[in-house]
């Protein structure tokens, strides 16, 4: 049995197990925090930052991502405030130009009042959340899909030596994709494309 940790989330006393993240503790207590790159089967990745919450530690306010931050005894957490809503709104406004048609994004955008056209559009249908890459590596252990490139050049690509053999019979990552990119990519016959070709960037 792991040790119990007591913390306060949105004014509510919450009991969690040591090693849990704030997100897990909050969900267990029925407190909803939005997520995009999180999946409970996978290692936390902390890329979309939409689950950012506010913690008070040593009397100082800090923003952390709840999908990674471990619970601590006596920790005070706020999952919703004007500042947090604004951060989430801007984050959504930054992701919407990539995948304007994404259902999960549109839903959150409505909730946080995010404008779809605030920033320059670059529709690739991919927000680089890495769910497909991580699912394939961590759960399927197939490594048929990967990231290539750095920074603004970052893309998701099928591994041409693996994907044509693994993907057609699996397709389990399709339903994870918030942007609908994978379905689109396969329909374009991209499974066997060489890795050097731009895959995710092509609308």
């Amino acid at each position: 049995m792991s040790r119990k940790v007591r913390l306060e989330i949105d004014g509510k006393q919450v009991e969690a197990e040591e090693g849990m993240t704030i997100l897990q503790a909050a969900r267990k207590a029925g407190i909803e925090i939005p997520t995009l790159c999180y999946n409970d089967q996978l290692e936390p990745y902390g890329a979309c930052r939409i689950c950012t919450v506010e913690i008070i530690k040593d009397g100082r306010k800090r923003y952390v991502v709840s999908c990674v931050y471990p619970v601590e005894e006596g920790l005070k957490v706020r999952t919703d405030s004007e500042e947090i809503r604004k951060i989430r709104k801007t984050l959504l406004e930054l992701m919407l130009p990539l995948a304007p048609a994404s259902g999960p994004l549109k839903e959150l955008a409505e909730k946080y009042g995010a404008r779809a056209n605030r920033f320059q559009a670059e529709p690739t249908a991919c927000i680089l959340c890495g769910l497909c890459v991580r699912y394939c590596a961590e759960v399927k252990k197939a490594n048929a899909i990967c990231f290539i490139g750095r920074g603004t050049e970052r893309q998701v690509a099928f591994v041409p030596e693996v994907a044509p053999y693994e993907c057609p019979s699996c397709r389990q990552c399709y339903s994870l994709c918030p942007g609908g990119k994978i379905v689109e990519a396969e329909s374009q016959g991209l499974l066997s494309m060489p890795i050097t070709q731009k895959v995710a960037r092509k609308p």
Binding site: R49, V68, Y69, P70, I87, L94, P97, L128, G151
Partner: protein, 641 residues
Amino acid sequence: MKVRSPEDLEKLRREILARKKPDRPVIAVCVSTGCSALGARRVVEALREELKKHGLEDKVEIKETGCMGFCELGPRLIIYPQEIPYFKVKPEDASEIVEKTILKGEPVEKLFYTDPATGEKIRKLEEIPFYKYQVRLLLENNAKIDPKNIEDYIALGGYKALAKALTQMTPEQVLEEVKKANLRGRGGGGFPAGVKWETTKNAPGEPKYVIVNCDEGDPGAFMDRTLMEGNPHSVLEGLIIGAYAIGAKEGFIYVREEYPTAVENIATAIRQAEEYGFLGENIMGSGFSFRVKIHRGAGAFVSGESSALMSAIEGKVGEPRPKYIHTAVRGIWNKPSCLNNVETWANVPLIILKGADWFKSIGTAGSSGTKIFSLVGKVNNTGLVEVPMGITLRDLIYKIGGGIRGGKRFKAVQTGGPSGGFIPEKYLDLPVDFDELTKVGSMMGSGGMIVMDEDTCIVDVTRYYIDFLSSESCGKCVPCREGLKQALNILNRICNGQGKAEDLETLEDLCEVLRAASLCALGTTAANPIATSLKYFRDEYEAHIFEQRCPAKVCKALTAYYINPEKCQACMICLRNCPVKAISGEKDIVHVIDQEKCIRCGVCFQVCPFNSVEKYSPPTPPPARYGIKVKRVKKGEKGGA
């Protein structure tokens, strides 16, 4: 030989000193990257040749050293034992140096530093303003050491601190001394090194690692490179002492592959330290064993971030980890790993040898010791400077840097590399230390210091930094990858005269989200240049957006070139140099720029000997008419500025 005890070390030191007769002339030539680029290697060859000619090759030693500091006046050399400093030495000067200085002990006047203010020649290094106000604790020995020769380092008391730590102090005492000295991380964060060491020491898990961070990625900064190239043993000695205090048996030196000399010199240093028994099993008979490996980085700015650097050492992509557990607790292969910057480690032997109280007597209450800066930009004297913490920006820029080039007006100084902030004139009397720089929205960073004058457009420079940071982002988290990309889009638009009223608010929102939600410090600090430029130079943004005007006349889309008919002497120079043939004119006829054809490259502005080309922003110069007769300016009377 193996040094097996402090007594062995002292014996060896005496032997080395006895071999190096103190009155034997030594010509120390800086062959570090800067001076080498200016031809230092050829100077060395010429000197060797000249010594041979006079049969002096065995009587005079030529020492190839690391950086001596005043890089723009290279190649540099110093002649010992008299300590005669020469500047801008050319291979042709070799014969004069040997014939006059070496043979007769006479100085070569023309190679001395000339004070630009008085025109006087200065014969002593410490009297040159650039050096006078410096406290060169870490850099001082660079001019006396051949970095490829461990004996030079030992002769100056090298590895004495290690001997003291290993034989007279417990690991806990070493740790306490460093904590007491309040040595703060020189890589930029300013986190107390002793506290970090203690965290790693007390963290569960074995083995523990110690690491040197030499992934210096800031454009224009070369502090770490200089130490690694010029005095690698000082870094190594610090690392070994740290390993002893922490209880680490293995260490890594992460150095970027783009620093070939640093890689070579530290590799030589490790080999020699192994030979002499400063690395390996049972160091100096203390029972403490320690080994070091070099990891050559593939040159990514983000790899300087501690968790990204450790991922890189593990052989993975150098991307920061989304962990809130410090690398000091769970670092390389999830084992406790203590990472410090090159300069931080190099301070350790000094603290052990001279004590925490001595170290704390230098600098300010919150930041003790010295800091190395690479002072560059629009100042008269550029190069590496080492100053006590707490020196004011004004002293740094005006006393050491010799003020702004060409008598121009100071606009801002950017500290801390690309993710530092702009500091305006009103804060020039700010003492430079970790906390004060943070208070005004900038940071110490690794020690880059770029001075900007009135001809610098702050919006344009901000755009440059964001461009750099955006292309160096690892691309993992949304605020950094998408936020910087969109900030760059906006800044590009503003510089192109297509700014919108809401852009400033949008940039502020992006700063907020970068600071609050980025995964690592690359993202959180990337807000600094945008936020400080908006705070201190908002009027420049507003001029770009609302008046279509670039106050510094830098942004091409908002600037036009115009030939003043009162000043033009119809010399045809601009006309011949214009790459798009946008200038028409002939003998005695004032030249005219065709604004439609002009690409605003500024060549005419640079080449005109009469200063008759003028910049206009907004880009609406007076109408130009072809056919105006030249008004001749009398000889010796140039067109004026």
